[in-house]
């Protein structure tokens, strides 16, 4: 199909429908995604020459991608509720502020490091929902608390939740994690520092930022560096989790520095060491299992032996857009990150139950909360993945990429890429959905402009990671936990200002990296 402005607008329509419904009419991701799916179906059929057989096969391919992501979403949420029901999350949250007398550093430990750890383990709004009330307990206003908790974990979204968003990036682009991880980790590593600085500024202004700058530099470098090392060595599912744990360890060390040490005995109730160790044990099981599956070849071969694979024929539209034959997304039933999370959830549940941490009917509550938390977002993922696969197979995504590459010159595009990712995440409420919507588009544009594809995709997913924290859906979750249920706009305006700073930093860094690589 020739690139004309009308054709480009038609190709943009499904995405525009999703954006319009979510932003203007405040529809949820599932409803807006379904509306986008129908508009993509109609346009692919009537304007882009996609036959019914092609459209049917796209939905089979889409369900494989969807299952790949949902496997992680459901089991990550399950593990979170297993730990939360046992009081493990509250114990970790109570233990942190007792380490230092500096209020800004306390705020950083909760709103930045702990929130990032929660993003690594659970995500899906959990970091904000858990950290914001704890920050209010430290004396921050509800608006400050939500802002700090939202922005603090922005850098950890991409490799958090067992790297759901990164898995999606690999799935939709077809590129291996080894190729994509370094650039994404580099951009997000610098974002860790900027997120920490913004949290300190929101908490206690320039004074707080100046006082805690050494701590931010140390902890942020440890977290960013640890994440880079992990994901460039294949441990992307544990990238944010272990990086945040390393950050916690660095935070413990920083709290011993004379300038941050408590000046008087801490009055608040501090959990016992045994209780803290027990609280962390559920997550320790996950880390141990993930390392075991990655590092023991025999175990790796055993769990990788059962895979769900489907073969697809070559698909061509009436206008000549061709998708080669091949297998769709393979799902490794027993070695998938979701399976590892499931094993860890079962082990953690048995551990906590044996320790007597569960009240009666805990299992039922855990399953109930997991299902209620995951169904809505699962529908959104399913609808948007279905829409995105239809768009790419009917040539709409390629046309959008061609148009974008004409608008932006090669040297300017790295500046725009993170903002495109952030926009997608802001609208859809998730880094994951942003990657579903825009990753292929960004990849095609990078190819057309002869830019580094991993860098542009790194900028896309880093922008998505940082943009997702400004999403109304997440803000609403945070507001509801600190008594701002009717006043989300008090948070929405400042979060757009503060939240765009780390995105801007990523954009500038992407331009510098593109130039250093000698891109267009």
């Amino acid at each position: 199909m020739p690139l004309t402005f009308l054709n480009w607008l038609l190709a943009l329509t499904p995405v525009a429908v999703v954006l319009l419904l979510m932003l203007r009419f405040r529809w949820g991701g599932a409803r807006a995604g379904a509306a986008g799916w129908f508009s993509a179906l109609i346009l692919a059929r009537l304007a882009f020459g996609a036959g019914w057989e092609l459209l049917a096969y796209t939905q089979v391919k889409a369900v494989l991608l969807t299952l790949d992501v949902l496997y992680i979403i459901w089991t990550a949420l399950l593990l979170y509720h297993v730990a939360n029901e046992a009081g493990a999350v509250a114990t970790i949250g109570q233990a942190l502020p007792s380490l230092t007398g500096d209020r800004t550093l306390q705020g950083l430990l909760l709103g930045w490091v702990f929130a990032s750890f929660l993003q690594g383990m659970g995500g899906f709004g959990v970091p904000v929902a858990v950290s914001a009330p704890l920050l209010v307990g430290l004396g921050y206003s509800p608006v400050q608390a939500v802002l700090m908790a939202c922005i603090g974990h922005g850098w950890a979204v991409n490799f958090g939740s067992m790297a759901t968003s990164f898995q999606t990036l690999m799935a939709v682009t077809g590129l291996p994690g080894e190729v994509l991880a370094p650039d994404a980790a580099l951009l997000l590593g610098f974002s860790a520092l900027s997120c920490g600085a913004v949290v300190a500024f929101i908490g206690d202004g320039w004074g707080g930022l100046r006082r805690t700058l050494p701590a931010i530099l140390i902890i942020g470098s440890v977290m960013g560096g640890a994440q880079y090392l992990l994901v460039t060595h294949g441990f992307w599912t544990l990238g944010a989790t272990l990086a945040a744990l390393a950050g916690l360890a660095a935070g413990l060390a920083v709290c011993r520095l004379p300038r941050y040490r408590p000046s008087a005995p801490v009055a608040s109730a501090v959990p016992s060491k045994g209780r803290i160790v027990m609280a962390l044990s559920g997550y320790a099981v996950l880390v141990a299992l993930a390392f075991a599956f990655n590092l023991i070849p025999a175990l790796n071969r055993l769990v990788d032996s059962v895979q769900l694979d489907l073969y697809f024929p070559e698909l061509t539209t009436a206008l000549g857009v061709r998708t080669p034959a091949g297998t769709g997304r393979s799902i490794n039933l027993f070695g998938h990150p979701g399976a590892v999370l499931l094993y860890a959830s079962v082990a953690a549940f048995l551990l906590y139950r044996r320790a007597g941490y569960y009240p009666s009917a805990a299992l039922r509550r855990i399953l109930d909360r997991t299902a209620h938390g995951a169904v809505g977002s699962s529908l959104g993922v399913a609808a948007m993945v279905g829409m995105a696969v239809m768009m790419s197979h009917s040539g709409m995504t390629g046309l959008l990429a061609q148009g974008l590459s004409r608008v932006f010159s090669g040297s300017l595009y790295p500046l725009a890429a993170p903002f495109i990712g952030a926009l997608g995440a802001f609208i859809t409420g998730s880094n994951n959905n942003s990657n579903v919507l825009f990753a292929v588009l960004q990849m095609r544009t990078a190819e057309l402009l002869r830019l580094s594809v991993p860098l542009i995709l790194g900028a896309q997913t880093a922008g998505g990671s940082l943009g997702s924290i400004m999403a109304p859906a997440k803000v609403i979750v945070g507001c509801s936990t600190v008594g701002l249920g009717e006043d989300e706009s008090a948070v929405m305006k400042p979060i757009l200002g503060y939240g765009l700073l780390p995105v801007l930093l990523v954009a500038l860094l992407a331009v510098l990296l593109a130039r250093s690589m000698g891109g267009a």
């Binding site: 949820g28 509306a35 096969y57 369900v63 969807t66 209620h372 169904v375 809505g376 399913a382 609808a383």
Partner: protein, 64 residues
């Protein structure tokens, strides 16, 4: 009257949740049936499953 999420909030979140679960199960299972129909060359069965998939998406539009 066209149903909306608001009417579900008033009438019962549980009903909405059940509808969402139903839509999700359909969306995750029907494509496999569709694949089997396409691979077997059974066009009419394929049309049926694709229509059901569209119905599941319409249900998401209503209950999501």
């Amino acid at each position: 009257m066209k149903p909306s999420p608001e009417s579900f909030n008033g009438g019962g979140r549980q009903n909405r949740f059940v509808l969402q679960c139903f839509a999700l199960i359909l969306m995750l299972t029907l494509p496999f049936a569709l694949y089997a129909a396409l691979q077997g060359g059974n066009i009419w069965l394929g049309v049926l499953f694709f229509s059901l998939l569209m119905a599941a998406m319409a249900l998401t539009l209503i209950s999501g």
